[in-house]
Symmetry: C2
Subunit: 265 residues, 2 copies
DNA sequence: TAGATCTTAATGGTCCTGCCATTCATTTGT
DNA sequence: ACAAATGAATGGCAGGACCATTAAGATCTA
């Protein structure tokens, strides 16, 4: 109790923060569970002895944080949301974009994750799981050998394979991190499939990776993982070489002038 | 694009969202730069043809998102913030907290991360950084040899060391993960320092890890990382053996009753 | 003149009151 | 039994008012 929040007794000028914190605390320690409905704004602003605007701003902050979801109309209100990775991914993407961080870092991170995940998956996954993974990589290969492969399906299957592999570690943290990275950033693997010169090699490399996993051969599997990322790097480098035009958006005059009005009621 | 969220195109009853999106867009493409000040709420609500409350809620959302910082008083207002990794880490930490994950999974994940990070840090960090890391581990050791070490300082230093190591990879993604794990979970390393039997070994092991990094000896450094986690596992197992009482927080009656009121003005 | 103090204007924070649009349960009509 | 109208609860928005805080400018004092 040394960090007792009562130390800062609702300083004026920040009541909204307190309301948000108290509701967040209630969610965090499970006093209100996902799916449940919070009292209405009109009820809350009475319970908190504040104005309704304060409660609204607090709820807006919690909504932005991904903790609640707000519905209009009768039986509407603020509902506690199930925990989602979406916000975390979005925040990371926001940072990377604002800082102009190179995709290389994401790729490097993914490769290191893939190596760890593969090692763990070989050690812990059951034979059925390994077989299933292998079959799906074969399906991927089949898809890419068709006349006009549906790239949307291909991309989706690739993501699914990555997630499945992460699940085979039996450690959910790896799955979450994988999902977060997939959600936030365009996985960049897409370019490998979009390029006719790489897609077949990529798919067969996936299959051989899965084969290595199924055979319980970590080094073989890891070799193919390495090959995957070598191809990815080369492919991206080629793309960058083609279109090196950087679209640096112009900024002439006052920005706010260009802001369209929101139509009033 | 099958999950296109654009299905709900700026329906009325969401003016606040539009305002937030427009300001965010202005920040994202650099029409307003970090450090610059946005127009006041009273100016904005005129420009947007909305009420002031709408603008306030939008700004609150942007603040929660970490894009702006709001100051009171004359010459106050909303200032565009420099992109900070902190917000992104916080989002991921929030998710991890809500998942109530077993410490074992987190520890396994952390060890795998530590190994990758250490390898990269050895390869990329400058000599000064490596020396600084080493000196700080020595400081940690010194602190723990004192009569009555300030554990708060110790824990803080340990966190700082982990972040520094992550930064030495020159890849911000690793720092993101590290910060998120620290924020989201009670770092569990704390128990190592809190136990008199482990703290000195832990600290000297940290120093030897840093020494291995400074010497550019990956295997030696990784050995010590392994030793750290062996100790951590043992320490946690011992603690669990002692006190196996699980504090499952009770939930009697309506939670909201227990919410203290915020004093009105 | 230099420093301290007071005044003032700008700004975010809060409160209030009222009204509208949406949504769902209920009632009513066919 | 089904459809349509009704009503109530709720979030979304508008506009106005006042307070607390802050920094810059004006004033006073030594």
């Amino acid at each position: 109790m040394k960090d007792n929040p009562m130390f800062a007794p609702a300083q004026v000028g920040r009541a909204g923060e307190d309301v948000a914190l108290q509701i967040e605390a209630a969610i965090m320690d499970g006093r209100v569970k996902p799916g449940e409905r919070l009292p209405s704004e009109r009820d809350l602003h009475v319970q908190f002895h504040t104005s309704r605007g304060v409660v609204r701003e607090a709820l807006r902050a919690l909504k932005q944080k991904g903790l609640v979801e707000v519905k209009k109309g009768a039986r509407g209100g603020a509902f506690v949301k199930e925990a989602e990775l979406h916000n975390a991914s979005e925040s990371l993407a926001l940072f990377l974009k604002l800082q102009r961080i190179s995709p290389q870092f994401l790729i490097e991170f993914r490769e290191s994750m893939d190596r760890t995940i593969t090692t763990l998956a070989i050690a812990r996954a059951g034979d059925e799981e390994k077989q299933l993974l292998l079959e799906e990589t074969i399906l991927l290969e089949t898809l890419l050998n068709e006349e006009d492969p549906d790239m949307e399906t291909v991309h989706e299957l690739d993501r699914k394979l990555n997630i499945r592999l992460a699940q085979m570690t039996k450690n959910p943290v790896f799955e979450w991190i994988m999902r977060a990275v997939q959600l936030g950033l365009s996985s960049h693997d897409d370019v490998l499939y979009d390029d006719a010169g790489y897609r077949k090699r990529t798919a067969s490399n996936w299959r051989e990776t899965a084969q290595g996993i199924a055979d319980g051969e970590p080094f073989r599997a890891l070799s193919h993982i390495g090959y995957h990322y070598v191809m990815l790097q080369k492919c991206i480098a080629e793309k960058a070489g083609q279109a090196s035009v950087q679209d640096t958006s112009v900024q002439d005059g006052d920005f706010w002038e260009s802001m369209p009005d929101i139509p009033g009621p």
